[in-house]
Symmetry: C2
């Protein structure tokens, strides 16, 4: 722990002990320098950290005071994604993801489903068609907001779910990740508070760091999803600007919110006039009879920016996603113009061609069936080989399993040990800024369980067993 | 002008008049509230603006003081790209660019060369090849830093110019714009000072705004390029972090720096340990005998991130660019992973295929010849039809002409009038945050001068003539 963190921690403990009460004035920066013997920079950094965590409040020309409501902390743990912390996270995530790209590694840590499940032949046929029909002017027709036929095709899929989304509010982006980043940027200013789930998709934490936003992590669990009571408290206690979450097949937990809960969520956010940035990239990968609606379907006030893509269910390499951005569509286009200019034109045209073949739904049915089978098989293999102390959280969608090791174990250490055996996993640390979920990891269950994969499961099981305390 | 801007302006004038001298303590925020009758928020905003412009300095626990060196201002005009200003610029640029996309508009305002000059047939053939050879695993092979064969092909082109650039330091991006944005992000923190040219590519100004950086605009002219004396002064007077500029066929002026000047530039930046972000997207479009070297070629200390793309010389719609990032290559990949994840896989493969045909250089020779001819023809047409009061700056590269109207005229007004006649131009206002260049505009001379284009030239000439004062 760095010096400023020590000091910050010390003050937090003093407050917890009652040494400083809500409203108390803390020693000034200069007084604290004398008291602590630390440098002005260190003290100042510590105070800024506490301020950004909502523990203390600065009053201009006056000084620092203990915040009046450090109450919500037990459940909420507001965390500012400071640069120091976040750079660590990024480097860490980068290393884990890089490892997953090595063809000799069994990619249980990967975020993408087995690309062999995608309709390569038909997509290649669409590419071939584009190679015959693309004109010099195609590039201009496909500038932001993106190809018109593609936006229409996406709008029709919303319509099939009974939702009214106009092609005019859809902006085509470089995957859902660009859609989410642009959405967040469109509705926030640096320093704003944003709610994320805990645990959540690491892309959200990275985006918050990049845009210098403050994260409020709201507890989310594998059975029921986001804790609405905690969310309500966060909305009451903090001037929240936006809420970035996954309502269907949440990454990494796999949980899908019930329709009632989605409705309550939207109502709550509407009451507080908080924008919902809905990351819905896995919604096509349900196992039930019907595709679940996004929260956006319950939003009659236009507070939702709904982001999705084809990368998890049709083709990863095209990098085509979108946002149904409502009134923010124009701003999103402006921001895109500043960052990547536009999405590649042949890729948009190839998707238009593929979607016109009407094979998409047949592909999705097959994909869902295989993913459900493979997840079941992987679950069985883990269940058979893993020690009893390990809990495997199963969800009825997508291709992730959320694995809970005994509390005293560290999944990051397991990750390092596994990499040495050419196996990647995604440890809980990737999905949070704090210490929570240190004993969890996400396992990609989209792979065919061949000899190599089964061997990897057994190796993982042995590694875990070595760490089990008798 | 908003209230806080009025107050800031008032204080600047007071300093200019000598009412406040360098080192003087200004009234505190509370005192200023009483003095000005404005709100605390307004006063605070005004002081922050002045601070970010380097006019005043905040000393913790003490107050605000007049900066000791507001000297360089006459020549340099340091401009913070505040959100207010920049949003205006963005909306404006967006509107101008949107207008250029309308197929019924003569696109003299466009930034891209006539796409009909690109080798569509051969590129489509490469797409068709990819449609036969792409495998399910291609996507993984093309993740950041990007396709290995493509990085090798780019490194070879550097080698042809006698430069040593390793494929390992090259990161493939969504066009040069993403490369530039990621480079800027990799080497700066919000609040840092960055030098740009005046006038400069609007993408630079937008990127600065997006990353909350402070811009120092250094005078640049159509004959000689950036003013190195002014640059030196800026480097002496401000803690500059990075310098973003174009050394070859500068946008919008078209000027190419001499080899001597490039060398001096690099030495100057090396002395001050300032990173050079070199935007080199037009360097293939020279008219002389030899491709000019980038400043990077003169940099033996690794301070340069060299950004370029295929979008201006081969294919706009693929959205493939790169940065030769030296020691920053890893950080750039991390940042990319957070924003767009990666560049589309089939597009990278198609380029690899095209470059392997070895037709690229023949295409470039033809492209350069046609662009030089068209620019000459357009120049002649403008010369013939435009009033004598208009000065047309010609440069020996690229496809832009930089048009100077009489000082009393406003090119933004001309732009509006031209749009009404279905003609787009790019007014000087797009290329600066200040009032400079209000009577200039950039004209895209890459189009075949057919009847429609010639008619547009005559219409423009008439519109200008209507605004000429006798």
């Amino acid at each position: 722990m760095k010096k400023y963190q020590q000091l910050a921690q010390q003050i937090i403990e003093q407050i917890a002990l009652g040494a400083w009460l809500p409203g108390d004035k803390l020693p000034s920066l200069r007084e604290q320098v004398t008291l602590s013997g630390m440098s002005f920079m260190t003290v100042s950094h510590a105070y800024q950290t506490l301020e950004s965590q909502g523990v203390i409040v600065a009053r201009p020309q006056s000084g620092y005071y203990v915040a009046s409501r450090p109450a919500a902390r037990s459940k909420l743990a507001p965390v500012k994604v400071t640069l120091d912390e976040a750079v660590d996270i990024n480097t860490y995530i980068f290393d884990v993801l890089q490892a997953s790209c090595d063809a000799t590694v069994v990619p249980f840590g990967s975020a993408f489903p087995d690309p062999r499940l995608f309709p390569l032949q038909q997509l290649n046929r669409s590419l071939a068609t584009v190679s015959k029909t693309a004109t010099a002017m195609s590039v201009i027709e496909n500038l932001p907001p993106g190809n018109e036929a593609l936006r229409h095709a996406i709008a029709r899929r919303y319509a099939q779910q009974g939702m009214q989304v106009s092609p005019d509010e859809i902006v085509i982006t470089a995957g859902a990740l660009e859609a989410l980043n642009l959405s967040l940027q469109a509705v926030t200013e640096p320093g704003d508070w944003v709610i994320v789930e805990n645990p959540c998709f690491y892309g959200a934490l990275q985006a918050l760091e990049r845009l210098r936003l403050k994260a409020l992590s709201v507890a989310t669990d594998p059975q029921n999803g986001i804790d609405l009571t905690a969310l309500k408290q966060a909305l009451n206690d903090y001037p929240v600007k936006a809420c970035w979450l996954m309502t269907n097949s949440q990454n990494p937990l796999g949980v899908t919110l019930s329709p009632e809960k989605k409705q309550q969520l939207v109502e709550l956010l509407q009451q507080h006039n908080v924008t919902l940035i809905e990351d819905d990239v896995y919604s096509e990968l349900y196992y039930g009879r019907e595709r679940p609606l996004p929260a956006r379907a319950y939003d009659d006030q236009g507070i939702t920016l709904h982001c999705s893509s084809f990368s998890k269910c049709l083709v990863a390499g095209f990098r085509i996603g979108w946002v149904a951005a409502g009134k923010h569509a124009r701003r999103i286009q402006q921001l895109q113009l500043m960052s990547t200019l536009s999405t590649s034109s042949p890729m948009q045209l190839a998707l238009v061609d593929y979607l016109a073949t009407k094979r998409y739904d047949a592909h999705l049915r097959k994909l869902r069936r295989i993913l459900a089978e493979r997840k079941q098989q992987t679950w069985q293999a883990l269940h058979q080989h893993f020690p009893r102390e390990v809990k495997i959280h199963h969800s009825e969608s997508g291709y992730f399993l959320w694995i809970e090791l005994p509390e005293y174990m560290d999944a990051s250490e397991l990750c390092e040990q596994a990499i040495a055996h050419k196996i990647s996993i995604a440890p809980g640390k990737m999905f949070t800024t704090g210490r929570a979920w240190h004993n969890y990891f996400r396992l990609n269950a989209s792979w065919f369980l061949g000899e190599r994969e089964l061997h990897a499961v057994i190796t993982l099981a042995n590694l875990i067993r070595q760490n089990i305390k008798e």
